[in-house]
Symmetry: C2
Subunit: 107 residues, 2 copies
DNA sequence: CATTCATATGAATGATAACACATATAATAT
DNA sequence: ATATTATATGTGTTATCATTCATATGAATG
């Protein structure tokens, strides 16, 4: 008998993991409100072009971003408006979480 | 001159990455509405106790969960109500994302 | 105080992921 | 057609992470 596996749950984890990498998160913040081409993103993040392209591919494979080509440039934007909300809200949340490195701080 | 590093952004990535692992996500869903002790969680998830404990520690180190001990048992709950929203919303989002494995599906 | 129940921890291993470097493709301009 | 600009891809290396197994701690109970 095969294990009970919730596909959606795995997809959800994949989505969150994909967003939860610093450089990808930075990329997403760059395109939070407006589309950007790869070169714009590379300049904004200040990392190697190939690294940015790899991350963009990862984001695309997770259906987090979609692309549109115009002339030589390829523009990336979020695939769904709700993504912006989640990114913004989780950013806000981080500031509100209890900072708690010590053993008994939550008692 | 040191690089410009946004600490909050790294923390945000750490948070999302921590949530973005299947077993941890399942744990979080178990305690979404009510606290649970480790044994409850182990039974619900159906994985090794030590694995669950490791993941719980990870979640605690990221300040995502807090604990309260009563007698022999240690109860875990979310550290912030906004976490439940983000978990729920990202779950909803996954269902709404365009499924797009093909090259030109978003053109 | 020895046993049991509940949970945590440490170390080892295997899997996955990030990154750099080199190179390829593809569109446009000269 | 060749050069240039924009982006993608393949590969190897290193680092991070999930998992297992064994063991430890700690609280309660007989």
């Amino acid at each position: 008998m095969s294990e009970h596996i919730n596909i959606t749950e795995e997809e959800q984890a994949r989505l969150l993991k994909c967003i939860g990498e610093v450089n990808r998160l930075r990329i997403l913040k760059e395109i939070l409100n407006e589309e950007r081409c790869v070169t714009d993103i590379v300049n904004a993040i200040g990392k190697e072009q190939s690294l940015i392209s790899h991350h963009l591919k990862h984001l695309k494979d997770c259906n987090i971003v979609v692309t549109q080509q115009r002339a030589k440039k390829i523009y990336y934007r979020l695939s769904h408006p709700r993504l912006a909300k989640i990114i913004t809200q989780s950013g806000q949340l981080v500031k509100e979480l209890p900072i708690c490195q010590e053993k008994e701080c939550n008692e």
